[in-house]
Amino acid sequence: MKRVAPAVGLLALALLGMLLALLAHDAPLAPTMARGWLQADALSALTMIVLGAQGLVAWVRDPRRCWPTLAAAWLFGAAAVMGHLGLMAGLLLLGGAVLAAQTGARSALVSTCGACLGLVVLGVTGGAWHYGAPGAGAGLNSLSFALLLAGALGAAGAHRMVQGRVPADTPLAAVAGLTTLLRLFSLGPWNLGWLFAALVVGGATALWAAWQAAAAPPAHVAAWLGLYFSGLVMVGAGLGSGAGVTLAGYALLTWPVVRLGLVRPDGPRWPLWLLTGAVPLSAPFVAAWLAVAAAVAGGLTLLAALLWVAALLVVVAVGRFAVQDDALTPLPPLPLRGEGEARHGVLMGAAAMLSVALGVGAPLVVLGLGPLVAQLQGGLTPFGAISLWPWAGLVALNAAQQPVATLPSLALIVLMGMLAALCWVALRLVALWGRRNG
């Protein structure tokens, strides 16, 4: 029972996030009783859902030490619904301290300190501590932005990448840091320098993490892929468009699914194929498509090329486990409840199914992320949007509302189904004919 309780708490956080997503679908919630101290919108809901999901994955990996994870997830989740910058900073700091005490990773504390400092500078400079207040955007300056970006980078583990070491696997802190960075769009538009900085840093992080993941030993792949997804979220923020925010939201949702599937990279193989990004219409493939399409819609072709190459490297990072495992160092068994290959298989199968659901249901996911884009619209540029293609899939539009990339996922599925049926019939006919002619 003791082991299950944290999972129940984390599930409750994710469910609360889903409820909030429903309630804040049309407009952000700011109860008049709370006088601006509480403010919840679609970004808060997404943060809570992703924190809950990441916490549950951490629980699956190691159910014995999950109380601090639960506490940190709830603290970061509470920070996401705070309308007061000081309170938000305090809760983030507390969450970072809990994580640092649990994992011994000081980077979680230091990076959340950076983000907190950024929020405090924001409040002090602007003079308005409630970010929903009319003049709150006045506090946006380069110092606060740099601190928040550095905080997000540190929480994602990018500083260890620079040192040539494997990034610390602290996804909760990374999610908190990245969503706090996205929160800046609620205050107002970013200047071009900030967008450029986020793009460069995010693109470099995603590419370098994918490059390292493609040759990393099995135990380190999940950490490198986490950094890759963090890079994608930063790129989404740097694009500063509707397409960028959609990319950031989708990458945040895909990350825990891939992490769940990599609980045991040398386990059964077929689920890994659905997590590689090589299979069209799996979640990592759609994430890669969104990244490239958002960059092309923003007119950033070079960035699109880098993100495309990074996506190919990610295919190798996971795909090599799907094919062979002899040359790889076997992992020590993870302390899962009811140990055994069967349990690993079930977890990886669940991750694969979730990946397919996110990929095939991408139009629904993008529909769900609609309020997120709409509510941050005040800070976004018009250079790119991901739009639904009714009964067909997704389409990326540029600033002139012209389609620049198309992913007719539903049409493709039906078409490939028809082709598979035709091939099957043809092969059966050929076999029958062959048998009849001896």
Partner: protein, 227 residues
């Protein structure tokens, strides 16, 4: 929903005859034989595909069926370059994983293809395959589109050399060649104003495919003679 079902109902000629179906099977077979002869490899043996091969065959076949080639009827749900490359490379990626590929090897093979795809996208104003057939009016865009197509075709000998035999691989080779040919078809169609449209639709594409197949064969022969 009705629109999708209607479009799929009208897609049968694409799936069965042209550009997928019979055309894809015959043209890919001829191309594979020609390329094998140029590369000095034994001709691919005729083998009956097994049921499991459907997993590898369907994605490249879907790309071929969706190519915006004239004179096939227009299909409203076109794909873009990333999806096309992802589907065409599915059999290759599945096979490549078997020997834990080097990152450099991967970057050398796909780097030029990715750059070429994005140069074409920049020239055409979007990644959609249908857009590659529209010849832009400004010369820098024309240069980008043609340069991208040239880079794509230049990268193909490396990608297509030493590939195993099999229906999925043959379809992949044909698909990669046809995607690279789209800007050339568009350029020729724009410059052949004097030809009646119906005649140009029937004449230009086969001419471009045949020329490119010859050029690709020549490139493979040169590659072989260099050792």
């Amino acid at each position: 929903m009705g629109e999708l079902l209607g479009a799929l109902g009208l897609a049968w000629p694409r799936l069965l005859l042209y550009p997928g179906g019979l055309f894809a099977l015959c043209a890919s077979w001829l191309l594979a034989r020609w390329l094998a002869w140029c590369a000095g490899r034994p001709a691919p043996p005729f083998s009956r595909p097994a049921l499991v091969d459907i997993i590898d065959v369907v994605p490249p076949l879907a790309v071929l069926a969706l190519l915006p080639l004239t004179p096939a009827a227009r299909f409203p749900y076109g794909i873009d370059l990333l999806v096309a490359l992802g589907l065409l490379e599915w059999p290759a990626l599945r096979a490549t994983m078997g020997h834990a590929p080097e990152r450099n090897e991967l970057a050398r093979a796909y780097g030029p293809l990715v750059l070429a795809a994005l140069a074409m996208a920049e020239g055409a104003g979007g990644m959609g395959l249908t857009g590659l057939l529209r010849w832009p009016t400004a010369w820098p865009l024309q240069a980008l589109l043609l340069g991208g197509a040239g880079l794509w075709l230049w990268a193909l000998p490396r990608v297509l050399a030493e590939t195993p035999h099999g229906l999925a691989w043959r379809l992949r080779a044909l698909g990669l060649l046809l995607v690279g040919s789209l800007p050339l078809v568009g350029a020729l169609a724009a410059s052949a104003n004097s030809l009646p449209v119906a005649l140009a639709d029937w004449l230009i594409p086969p001419m471009v495919y045949l020329s490119l197949a010859f050029v690709l064969g020549g490139a493979l022969r040169v590659r072989r003679s260099r050792g």
